[in-house]
Amino acid sequence: MEAPPVSVLPITGGTINMMEYLLQGSVLDQALESLLHRLRGLCDNMEPETFADHELVYLLKGQQGNPFLLRARRSLSHPTVPWHLRYLGQPEVGDKSRHALVRNCVDVATSHSLPDFLNEMGFRMDHEFVAKGHIFRRGVLKVVVSKLSRILVPGNTENTEPLSLSYLVELSVLAPAGQDTMSEDMRSFAEQLKPLVHLEKIDPKRHM
């Protein structure tokens, strides 16, 4: 059955429109220890938290335009915790002086039947990967240091191979739309992490 035509409407909900502010960078495997050490000092004083997640990316191919993309993520280390469904909009092309990538973000916690549900809705899984690493927080700032691995056999998360010899570092904040003070805080935090890692605004469009 052909997928019904999908017109991509802007996501509006009954709740506040949340925006995600993002800065990304990477470090080589050898530099991981020093980066973790630095982050432990700069971030909130908590026990270091590791995570292991499995992310599936679903696409809904409409007849026109870009396909609609949804990300479903589950925790491998905490199997009973709900799945997390995420929609990320296009990056806002506001003023160039904004230091972080800003895009619309919708986060939903779902039950474990999410993949089946998405399949029924007409989504098809495009690719999946496993991410393992560490997560830190500083107030509302979230720093995720993750190693992405390719899944060799679809559905089998044990058999993976790393995609690269480096770790992806992401600094993100979730804030309601209109609050632009976040990017300044993010920039000053990113300054403190130099020269271990250079966090910058990476436009996904330009790399596709």
């Binding site: 908590m46 938290e49 997390h84 995420r86 939903v108 916690a109 927080r137 107030g139």
Partner: protein, 594 residues
């Protein structure tokens, strides 16, 4: 010399060593072959100076007188070749031999003369006596001692100067002070300024105040003058709104204050003196941190006071929050912040009542706020999977598990800071009203500490505790009558905790009290026992009792005002919720209207 003594044969042998021409690779030496006879002749012939013919007679004459020594080796040449004496190869040998012969002869002569001892005598050379060991030791010791002293003096000087430097450094050095500051406070360098963070942000607070302070070098010292005792090379500059010191005053008052008095709480308690060893910057920073925490607590409380709906609304005025936990009881929480300037410290109109301020609740407020801070740092907030937003684990379950409104509201932090404090204030108030008994429940026994200091140990038998509590209750009721009498204006005529009259109680003792009304007309006697219950009797004036027979003895009418017989009160039928209410009603009924 020549001719004296026997001739001595001197044997001379040429070394006859052949010259090495070459050494082959295997070590064999190849010698230069000696000259053959003809070659030798040719060599010798070359030496002859044929230009000198018979003119060399003189030289020939000189060679004639041969030494008495004979040549051992005969040269193969028989021909007498005229040797040039200067070219004679044995010349040096002969001269050396001659000189040695001369020496030997002289020695022999000297020895023979000395042997006679007549003209020459041998005298031994005077030996210097070898310096005794001890002397050597002493001299060495002295020299070492001098050297050691010099070195010690130098080392002493060096160590003294180092110690002096350190002393100075410790007191004066900006960098060492900075190091000490850094060991206790968070510092970071921004440009050429040193900033610090004194907020509780890193401990989990979400208060938006930045709490940054600046570290500056104290350069107003005069090196010529002596440094003051409390000189510190480092100074901190704290934000202007955190200056001074603050505390949160929690107090319970019985009556509501006037409207005009609201928000004017400015009572101030004196700052505690800083410990001798602490640095001035530490005191300053700690005070500022305390002010920040008090501000955060007050902000949280006032936010809750405005948002939370309760039966009696809370009043928030300036720096004071007033709420009513019980009717007639008022709880006031105020933020007292003094900037420490002289002009603010004028004497407050009312004397500060020290027991008005509930320090326990103030402390609890601080603890609760810190507890809240810790909660934001707990790992239950960390998201799994990592892309999920921060938030409590259970809240994330609300979607998938389809919670309804009631369940979601249960999930929320049910009690805010304000409600908790109000609950605690209520508890304190109730506690101060009730019997002062303290039960220490141990492993084997229960220890009860009474208000008046008695300590009673009870065993594990529950009956014992029960009996004890019953006896306490009965005593308490009698005490309540005593208090009530004070309030109502009745006089206590007699009071006994352990009466010796009446039936013997199986548990404890009965207590009794007799109170008389203010005009003396009525009296109430109460006997309360744990087992026998409560017995209340009222004594009426003689004029009101009908049973009294008229007597001839009592003539005067004034005697009728005295109290007469007793009548028992049906206490169970008495109106009133509890003993105290009933007693109050009774007393009120018996108090005549003016």
């Amino acid at each position: 010399m020549s001719g004296s003594g026997p001739a001595v044969r001197v044997s001379i042998e040429s070394s006859c060593e052949k010259q090495v021409q070459e050494v082959s690779l295997d070590g064999m030496e190849t010698y230069v072959p000696p000259l053959s006879m003809s070659q030798n002749l040719a060599k010798l012939a070359q030496r002859i100076d044929f230009g000198q013919g018979s003119d060399s007679d003189e030289e020939g004459v000189e060679t004639e007188p041969r030494d008495p020594q004979e040549w051992g080796k005969q040269e193969p040449e028989e021909d007498e070749v005229k040797f040039q004496p200067s070219l004679w190869p044995w010349d040096s040998v002969r001269n050396n031999l001659r000189s040695s012969l001369t020496e030997m002869c002289v020695l022999y002569d000297v020895l023979s003369v000395v042997k006679e001892k007549k003209y020459m005598a041998l005298d031994p050379v005077s030996q210097d006596p070898s310096t005794p060991q001890v002397f050597q030791l002493i001299s060495k010791k002295k020299s070492l001692a001098t050297a050691a002293q010099l070195l010690l003096k130098g080392a002493d000087k060096l160590s003294k100067s180092v110690a002096e430097n350190q002393e100075n450094r410790r007191q004066r050095d900006f960098n060492s002070e900075l190091l000490r500051l850094r060991s206790q406070w968070k510092l970071r360098k921004v440009g050429d300024k040193i900033l610090g963070d004194l907020s509780y942000r890193s401990a989990g607070s979400l208060f938006p105040h930045a709490g940054t302070f600046e570290v500056i070098k104290n350069t107003d010292i005069d090196l010529d003058k002596k440094l003051p005792e409390d000189y510190c090379p480092l100074n901190v500059q704290i934000p202007s709104d955190l200056e001074g010191s603050a505390y949160i005053k929690v107090s319970i008052q019985k009556q509501a204050p006037d409207i005009g008095d609201l928000g004017t709480v400015s009572l101030f308690r004196r700052q505690p003196k800083a410990k001798a060893g602490t640095q001035p910057w530490h005191v300053k920073l700690e005070a500022a941190q305390n002010v920040l925490l008090c501000k955060e607590i007050f902000a949280q409380l006032s936010r809750e006071a405005v948002q939370i709906k309760s039966q009696i609304p809370h009043i928030v005025v300036k720096n004071q929050i007033i709420s009513q936990p019980f009717p007639g009881l008022q709880l006031s929480i105020s933020l007292c912040h003094s900037t420490g300037e002289k002009k603010n410290q004028r004497a407050s109109p009312e004397k500060p009542k020290p027991d008005d301020h509930l320090y326990v609740l103030e402390h609890n407020l601080h603890q609760l706020m810190r507890e809240f801070h810790k909660q934001t740092l707990s790992s239950i907030v960390m998201p799994h999977p990592a892309s999920a937003p921060f938030g409590h684990k259970r809240q994330r379950m609300a979607g998938p598990m389809a919670y309804d409104k009631a369940e979601i509201s249960n999930l929320q932090q049910n009690e805010g800071l304000l409600e908790k404090i109000i609950k605690q204030a209520k508890h304190i108030f109730l506690r101060s009203r009730s019997i002062q008994l303290q039960l220490n429940i141990g492993v084997e026994q229960i220890r009860v500490v009474h208000r008046d200091g008695r300590v009673i140990t009870l065993s594990h038998q529950e009956q014992e505790l029960q009996d004890f509590l019953l006896s306490q209750m009965s005593q308490h009721q009698v005490h309540a009558v005593q208090q009530l009498a004070k309030v109502m204006g009745w006089h206590v005529l007699s009071f006994s905790n352990h009466v010796g009259l009446g039936s013997v109680e199986s548990i404890g003792n009965a207590s009794a009290i007799t109170v008389a009304s203010s005009n003396g007309e009525y009296a109430i006697s109460v006997r309360n026992g744990p087992e026998s219950g409560c017995k209340v009797l009222v004594q009426f004036p003689r004029s009101q009792s009908k049973e009294l027979p008229k007597s001839d003895v009592i003539q005067d009418g004034k005697w009728n005002h005295l109290r007469g017989p007793y009548k028992e009160v049906h206490w169970s039928k008495m109106e009133g919720r509890n003993f105290v209410y009933k007693m109050e009603l009774l007393m009120a009924a018996l108090t005549p209207c003016p």
